[in-house]
């Protein structure tokens, strides 16, 4: 039996540089930066103060069934991105079979603000103010559940909290579900809200940059925590074609691996990253020479950018120097579990529009980071095949490949 082909027909994003596909894509190609002084909480006790928060967000625009008061921030982002993606795909929700419509989402922290509230009240000795809402709002699976409840999707419903690579994991899973015929339409992506816990942790790791995020630059000083959500509408090529849907790209394969080396540091030879890319290429039946764009994990930390470059060079050889590889985290910061989902959306858009977003703030190249990072200006470039790389705590590596639907 021939495997079903799976395509991206809708894109919904909530990001620090804009909500909705069109606004986001325009701002991204212009190299706009969403990094500001943190407003979610008081950072005076920290030695860093910058973050990439979402400011222009009105959840009321996206809710028909649920009450915003009963939704954590990551769930709100996720629902908004899901609604935007369905609208972008021109899908009539009423036309779907609810049992064949599913949700697969990733996250790093779930709804950390709910546990932060718990902790504030615990310390203030007012824990009695925490009621039944804690269980209803906090556990990470509520993000996928809330999307399904709002849209009345009764099919596959899964949360894959594999930290900063979670979006790729969730999209990969939706791809498998559709190929196996277990659903007719999947919403897949990732969501995370700005979190005091996350900020504290990265600050303590010395990983947060004081001012700007400048991936691959010689003077890069770290990452910038962010927030947001990205959701894709995935459906079988046959049904997308039948309903005359706009097809951004086809998902052709993925690779997942584990370093089994260190919780927060990548393998020194990039072993796991190479294995994930190899699997993704093999499943897509292509070679490194076929890749026209790499969306880098590109956090802006000294180690990540060096090792990621090394891994690509190990696998691609000389071809590495001919593949544009940019990091949109230079503009959005690191949106955690949403990051690779938003980056997958960027790959789909790059494939569709033949345009590549830049790595901004890249002024002085690092001798160890000597690839083409599309510095500072977006580029017109034929993108038949794009690869989306993401790496996470726990040594999790995930590579996803998207390509023009009619090619290969």
């Amino acid at each position: 039996m021939k495997q079903r082909r799976v395509v991206v027909t809708g894109i919904g994003v909530v990001t620090p540089i804009g909500t909705g596909r069109e606004r986001f894509w325009t701002n991204l190609l212009e190299g706009q930066c969403g990094i500001r002084t943190v407003q979610s909480f008081d950072t005076s006790a920290y030695n860093v103060h910058r973050g990439a928060e979402v400011h222009d967000f009105e959840i009321e625009n996206y809710l028909s069934n649920l009450d915003a008061a009963h939704l954590g921030r990551a769930s709100q982002f996720a629902i908004a991105a899901a609604r935007l993606a369905l609208a972008d795909a021109n899908v009539e929700i009423a036309s779907l079979d609810p049992e064949r419509a599913g949700v697969s989402m990733g996250t790093t922290s779930g709804e950390p603000r709910e546990v932060e509230r718990f902790d504030d009240l615990f310390i203030a000795k007012k824990l009695e103010r925490v009621g039944p809402e804690f269980l209803a709002l906090y556990p990470s699976h509520v993000i996928a559940a809330h999307i399904a409840r709002e849209l009345r999707f009764a099919g596959v419903n899964i949360m894959i909290p594999t930290a900063c690579a979670a979006g790729n994991y969730a999209i990969a899973h939706a791809f498998d579900v559709l190929r196996a015929g277990r659903a007719e339409l999947m919403l897949a992506g990732g969501s995370d809200s700005f979190s005091r816990i996350t900020y504290t942790g990265f600050a303590q790791l010395g990983a947060i940059a004081p001012e700007v995020c400048q991936p691959f630059d010689r003077h890069r000083k770290g990452m910038i925590p962010g927030e947001g959500a990205g959701v894709l509408v995935l459906e079988p090529l046959a049904s997308a074609t039948r309903r005359g849907a706009r097809i951004y790209a086809e998902v052709s394969g993925y690779g997942l691996s584990c370093d089994a080396h260190h919780m927060t540091a990548a393998h020194p030879n990039g072993d796991g990253a190479v294995r994930a890319m190899e699997q993704a290429l093999a499943q897509s039946s292509i070679t490194p020479q076929d890749i026209n764009y790499i969306s880098a994990h590109g956090t802006g930390t000294a180690t990540n950018d060096r090792l990621e470059t090394l891994a690509v060079k190990r696998l691609f050889g000389d071809a590495a120097y001919r593949v544009p590889m940019s990091s949109i985290k230079s503009m959005l910061g690191h949106t955690m579990g949403a990051a690779s989902a938003i980056e997958a959306a960027v790959c789909a858009l790059a494939v569709y529009h033949d345009r590549i977003p830049p790595t901004i703030n890249l002024r002085e190249p690092d001798p160890e980071c000597d690839l083409d990072y599309v510095p500072n200006c977006a580029r017109e470039h034929t993108v038949r095949v794009a690869m989306n790389n993401a790496y996470a705590f726990g040594g999790n590596n995930a590579s996803l490949i998207l390509k023009k639907a009619q090619t290969i």
Binding site: S140, S257, F393
Partner: protein, 411 residues
Amino acid sequence: MRNRVVITGAGVVSSLGDSSAGLQFSLCSGRRAIRPVELFNTAGLGCPLGGEIPAFDAQKYLGRRNLRPLDRTSRLVTSAAQLALNDSGWSESMRNQEEIGLVLGTMFCSVHTISQFDRRALEVGPAYASPMDFSNTVINAAAGQTAIMHNLRGINSTISTGITSGLQAIAYATEVIRSGRARAVLAGGADELCFESFYGFDRAGLLCHSDERTGDFPIPFDKRRNGFALGEGAALLMLEDAKFARERGARTLAEITGHGCGYDCSQGEDEEEAVEAIGLSIRRALNDAFIEPHEIDCLSASANGSYAGDRHEAKGVFAGLNGQTRKLPVTAIKSMLGETLGASGPMQAIALLETIRDGVLPGIKCLEEIEDDFALEMIGPENREIDVEAALINSAGFDGHCCSLVLARMP
């Protein structure tokens, strides 16, 4: 053509034993793990009871390894993983040759670790929060720590779907092997007992409370049930491609022949929708296994003593099996273990492996008065001797997730 998936070993760390046989023995002896919690102070909470693992010490399973970076959940998972690797014959040197995967289901991983990290930063300043603890605040921390300790370099994924997390992880791993992406994957789940999650369940009014009629315990499917007890533990199965397992000469315990899932959009508020979602999940699992309802020889139910949940499950099973439930032997081991969340589905699977082997299905402790309209008759406090070719495991959360799995005896 999809690859067949077999179980070649199991590892369990539970309040009723740390081996499959030990767990089954406890369940069949009617032992109960539910007693006053000692891990944290339960003063002011409605329910002081839990299924805690007494004096849990990971060193017993992991020897002289450095356990300092691991929180309780990670210790539970690394221990269960060690047991499962031993049981399935994956020595350290063999693990260097094969990229073994790990798919872990967990509802919270460790909300205790997360909360402690945050409270320390609040109380003494962010500069005193530990970077090592931070790496344990991600929900995939236990899966990452386990991969590091046991050198598991294959696919590494964490699944969170509430109570069904662990069974969903097994279903996910089954697909990974069926599609040829991996040949050997450890799959299962874990959750720890901790103040923060316990408080959440207590405040949600889901935990059991003792009264004159029930005694101190949760009684699944009984008219007197008034909630569940929280438990804890870790349970992992070694899943392998059947051909690969045969070639390496592995012992096989059972085959996973089907899985299915559903989602109740009313999140338990509408009985009809809740029942339909469970029915759908079961029908999908049976279809996936290419079997008919009458071919199911027993059911391990998700029922944990929750008032609405048990009712939805009894009716959902009736719907999913096309009304063929009166002759179906049913057990509900959460009556004895409590609700172990992410570990619960995999623990049901491990107990069923023993039932397939020894032909004994544990009774449901204290079950006396089943509800009149549940259409379950082969159910009660006594163990049952049965011959199992195919068994159904059901897992259903209090807030909408459903997952079902079919296990078959090896021919």
